[in-house]
């Protein structure tokens, strides 16, 4: 599904923040991406989401060489990837429902065709009573859950989540993790970036550990 070969990344003329990364993400796999703050987790997530191009090395996603992709080909690939950012990236002028339903609107689907799915998922993540609330009045945890719901709503083939449980209490974090695991069982490959060792210890999964830009893999 994703293949990195000797990938390096630097911003501008600065030092390499990611060095010689070589790994595979197989279909229907589940893994944690961890490491200390500043180790490059978010940069790696952005590389996998095609928001950044590597300085060197080869990346292939869904059997496509990233270096050969044109701008017009990116949206179709983005639709196959769900992503949860640390800063949520919710649109403040849209309701929670509309934020979560955004991928469907982008696909051109009519609201009646997805309304029930969105409401169900919002209730599942504990936002059933915040359907028509706007992000500025949501708590950090609620925003995070809304961002997760938006990433999951179209059941993407790959889910990239950057600290998805960083703003929620442990019981809700566990519940969200179960949601990711359920999604994984349905066929989605999941990569969760976190530095919450306690959370990782609760679930048996492959660990990709980033340290000073280099990657170690613990299967």
């Amino acid at each position: 599904m994703i293949r990195f070969e000797n990938v390096g990344l630097r911003y501008g003329v600065g030092p390499e923040v990611l060095r010689d990364l070589t790994f595979d993400i197989t279909p229907k796999s589940f893994q944690f991406l961890t490491g200390p703050s500043g180790a490059g987790k978010t940069s790696l997530i952005r590389l996998m989401f095609l928001a950044l191009r590597p300085t060197r090395g080869l990346i292939s996603i869904f059997s496509r060489e990233v270096s050969s992709l044109t701008k017009a080909e990116l949206p179709a690939l983005h639709r196959r990837i769900g992503v949860v950012f640390q800063d949520f990236r919710l649109l403040d002028h849209l309701t929670t429902f509309e934020n979560v339903a955004l991928p469907f609107r982008v696909l051109g689907r009519e609201e009646p065709s997805y309304r029930a799915d969105v409401i169900d998922l919002l209730r599942w993540v504990g936002l059933g009573d915040r359907v028509h609330a706007f992000p500025p009045v949501l708590s950090g945890g609620e925003k995070q859950r809304a961002a997760i719901a938006r990433a999951l709503i179209t059941r993407p083939e790959l889910l990239l989540a950057d600290e998805p449980t960083g703003n929620v209490d442990p019981p809700l974090a566990k519940r969200l993790m179960r949601l990711f695991i359920e999604l994984n069982k349905l066929g989605t490959s999941v990569i969760i970036a976190t530095h919450d060792i306690g959370l990782m210890n609760q679930f048996e999964a492959r660990r990709l550990v980033l340290e000073e830009g280099r990657l170690m893999i613990y299967d």
């Binding site: 990116l74 649109l91 002028h93 849209l94 982008v106 609201e111 309304r115 409401i119 359907v131 028509h132």
Partner: protein, 320 residues
């Protein structure tokens, strides 16, 4: 039914109502009613108002010029100058008879000597004795249709009357037409400048909107939106702004036209304003002015939408 059941039913009904409220009218992806958006609406309204005023002025001049030309062309004047040894009155009668027999002439009015003398009052004052002056006699010849009347034949046959000449006002009409055309062209040039200014305002506003909606664009990209989808969303946003601004400006111009029609026309009934009336007719903008204003509102809105679409594409390409 227990209290718990009732409470549950109320909760469910409330939830459904909230869900309907939240989903019945989806918000635009590009936020509406922002400060920048409202400012652009005002700018578009002002531009549209100015464009409508220009169009109104152009139609006013064009209509007045057309009326003038028609009036002038519907009448030709025969001048019979006093010639020694010729009875001017008899020559005048002969010229009038020739005119009456000409094809396409609907009426002939021979001005009396006193009427002719009165025409000189602005230069010679009142109370002068005109009987000693060699004042030419004038005959006003009214034509049914300037195009079908045989004015050339009339001129040829008048050669038989000593001292008679024919003035068909062509020189006047040509000058008037040139003046009116120049005014219309100037008006259209101003209209074009207003449109260019509108387009530039929209370009800057769209770029501003793109900058302030960077997050929206980023989130849409995250969700897999294509550039065409993003451009459509911005285009719809600006089309609504354009329609709102365009129609506000056109409505304001329409109200002004109507006020001019109702207020200025009675004020122009006096003798002091005869010359202005003669120049600009009734100072009322015709249906073309009103429909034109409506057309300008649509044009401004469509132009706004298309400009924003192109600007969004350009912006997305630059930020690739």
């Amino acid at each position: 039914m227990t209290d718990a059941d009732l409470a549950h039913k109320i909760q469910v009904a409330s939830f459904r109502r909230q869900t309907r409220q939240a989903t019945s009218r989806p918000n635009q992806l590009v936020p509406a009613n922002t400060v920048a958006g409202n400012a652009l609406t005002v700018v578009i309204a002002i531009m549209s108002f100015l464009a409508c005023l220009t169009l109104g002025a152009v139609t006013l001049v064009r209509d007045a010029s057309r009326d003038w030309q028609l009036d002038i062309q519907r009448e030709v004047t025969i001048q019979v100058k006093p010639v020694d040894g010729v009875d001017t009155n008899a020559a005048t009668s002969q010229a009038a008879d020739i005119a009456r027999q000409t094809q396409g002439v609907s009426g002939v009015q021979v001005l009396s000597f006193a009427d002719d003398a009165k025409l000189l009052e602005p230069w010679l004052g009142t109370g002068f004795d005109a009987s000693d002056l060699p004042i030419p006699r004038l005959i006003a010849v009214h034509l049914t249709d300037p195009n079908s009347a045989n004015v050339g034949d009339l001129g040829t046959r008048l050669a038989a009357v000593k001292g008679a000449t024919l003035d068909d006002h062509r020189a006047w009409a040509a000058r008037l037409k040139s003046m009116a055309n120049a005014t219309v062209i100037a008006g259209l040039a101003i209209l074009s400048l207003v449109f260019v200014a509108t387009v530039l305002s929209v370009v800057f506003a769209t770029r501003g909107a793109m900058a302030s909606n960077r997050v929206v664009v980023a989130v849409l990209h995250i969700c897999g939106a294509e550039d065409g989808f993003i451009a459509r969303e911005f285009q719809r946003h600006f089309l609504l702004l354009g329609l709102r601004g365009g129609f506000t400006g056109a409505a304001a111009a329409g109200v002004l036209f109507a006020l001019l029609g109702f207020l200025v026309v009675p004020m122009m009934a006096g003798p002091d304003t005869d010359q202005v009336s003669a120049l600009f007719g009734h100072f009322a903008v015709g249906p073309l002015g009103y429909f034109g204003a409506l057309g300008i509102a649509f044009l401004v809105a469509v132009m706004t939408a298309l400009t924003s679409r192109l600007t969004v594409y350009q912006h997305l390409a630059e930020n690739e």
